[in-house]
């Protein structure tokens, strides 16, 4: 007589047999989901069935949380699971730890094949990638005009650079026709050449949803685009062929908007800083020359031209004073608007000096300023520059000595 098992012992034994079987510890099973239930605990209970049979399945919360999609009744899936026996009911079940949609494995293989092929052809070469312009005068977007993606882009652009210029090429971004429509968009922008940069955008989704961005013809169109192109497809972790072939990959559509448009305030302060440096540099040069003149004016050898030196020095003082005033005003309120700053700088322009009645004499032959009678001979042409134009003169007589 063989030994008699208790029910518990039997179930435990069968459980151990199943657990020890090398095939049943990591088995991949294809089937359709039915009787799907998600418990508050986070565990998922369902059956997998085909035409003839079905098997009970459970996916515990820790594993279920990593599924890339929410399972639904009627979905055809491939699960990776271990077989076990539920002791209490003596019921055979699969403990599922991975689940993918049926066919995704094929898609992934196709993606890898195309990626390898295009990479070998050089479509992803960094040397071919075009620089994204610093300040695009007009931005072209190929995307769906409905939904969050376009509003996200518009929102980010408005925040960074309020007077941006955006042109939307509406296109399907999933489904059979999508790849062709996106391609037409890229081609249209290239033909019309009215935007400085193109963004291809779509929100996150499953691998099937994003499949149109793995289209070979689309990849080639992007490669051939003369206009720099940013790919902004899906979320951070989703990679498509478009991402590899584009000139720049943005992790999300909002990020693409950040990458494509600089912050206006930053650009303004950049201009401001350079203009300040410009003024300061000139002021410094004038100060150096003034000191030099002061030094020369004390030299006895130069006693006779002293008055001239003094007057030059005075002129420089005035110029320097005006510059200092202007600079001080700029310093006092560094936050002041750039255009006002420029207006003030403009006031220092020699043209403004001219408008106050001063004039500039130049030798029309050489174009150089006439600063001394030594540079003029009687009969020579002299050009007098006034604020609003030129007077062409001829020197009649030359008289030495100061007039003013």
């Amino acid at each position: 007589m063989s030994a008699v098992f208790s029910v518990s012992d039997l179930n435990q034994y069968v459980g151990e047999v199943l657990a020890a079987d090398p095939v049943l510890t990591a088995v991949r099973v294809r089937g359709e989901i039915s009787g799907f239930k998600k418990y508050p605990s986070g565990h998922l209970y369902f059956s997998l069935k085909d035409k003839e049979s079905q098997v009970n399945c459970v996916a515990f919360r820790g594993n279920a949380a990593h599924f890339s999609f929410v399972p639904e009744n009627g979905m055809s899936v491939v699960v990776t699971a271990r077989a076990s026996l539920y002791d209490r009911d003596g019921r055979f079940q699969l403990v599922v730890y991975e689940m993918e949609k049926d066919g995704v494995g094929d898609l992934f293989a196709a993606f890898e094949r195309l990626k390898v092929k295009l990479e070998a052809e050089g479509l992803f070469d960094t040397s071919h990638k075009k620089a994204i312009p610093k300040l695009p005068r007009r931005i072209g977007v190929v995307t769906s005009p409905k939904g969050a993606v376009i509003s996200d882009i518009i929102h980010v652009l408005s925040r960074r650079f309020p007077n941006f210029d955006l042109l939307i090429y509406p296109s399907a971004v999933q489904g059979q026709t999508a790849a062709g429509e996106i391609r037409k968009g890229v081609e249209w922008f290239n033909r019309t050449d009215i935007v400085d940069v193109i963004i291809i955008a779509r929100g996150g989704g499953s691998m099937e949803d994003l499949w149109c961005f793995n289209d070979e013809a689309l990849a080639r169109t992007i490669y051939e685009s003369n206009i720099p192109l940013i790919s902004a497809v899906g979320h951070e972790t989703d990679f498509t062929i478009c991402d590899f072939v584009s000139d720049l990959r943005a992790p999300t559509p909002s990020a693409a908007a950040e990458l494509v448009m600089p912050e206006k305030s930053e650009l303004l302060s950049g201009i401001n800083a350079r203009t300040d440096r410009l003024t300061r540099a000139l002021l410094h040069l004038v100060a150096i020359r003034k000191n030099h003149l002061m030094f020369l004016s004390r030299s006895k050898a130069l006693l006779s031209p002293l008055r001239r030196v003094e007057s030059e020095s005075q002129r420089l003082d005035m110029l320097s004073l005006k510059l200092t005033h202007s600079l001080n005003r700029r310093m006092d309120s560094s936050a002041r608007r750039i255009d006002k700053g420029i207006a003030r700088l403009d006031a220092l322009s020699p043209l403004k000096v001219l408008s106050r009645g001063y004039s500039l004499a130049t030798n029309p032959a050489t174009g150089s300023c006439i600063t001394s009678i030594a540079q003029v001979t009687p009969g020579q042409a002299v050009q007098i520059q006034l604020a609003d134009g030129l007077v062409h003169c001829k020197a009649e007589t030359i008289q030495a000595g100061r007039i003013l």
């Binding site: 007009r138 249209w188 206006k264 350079r274 410009l278 750039i338």
Partner: protein, 88 residues
């Protein structure tokens, strides 16, 4: 002086690079006072140009539509999905 006409063609990026180089030259302090003043004037022109480049972008959000002949046309886009009056 055709300097300003010449500058008119510069993009924001080019004008900014040119401005930077003018500032660096003036900072170096070489050359005569005349040359320095002319550099300064160049700088002022470029600085004006840079800021005007920022303002000359017209705030627009437009979308392409196709009329019955299949010709593409731009119309104003608004996020509610309602597109407003057409502009040629």
């Amino acid at each position: 002086m055709n300097q300003s006409q010449e500058y008119e063609k510069l993009s924001f990026e080019e004008a900014m690079t040119e401005l930077e180089s003018v500032v660096n030259k003036l900072d170096a302090g070489e050359g005569t006072l005349d040359e320095s003043i002319s550099l300064f004037q160049k700088g002022v022109l470029l600085s004006k140009l840079c800021s005007s480049r920022l303002e000359e972008i017209e705030k627009r959000v437009r979308i392409l539509t196709e009329d019955t002949n299949g010709t593409k046309k731009e119309i104003d886009f608004n996020e509610d999905g309602i597109t407003s009056i057409e502009k040629e």
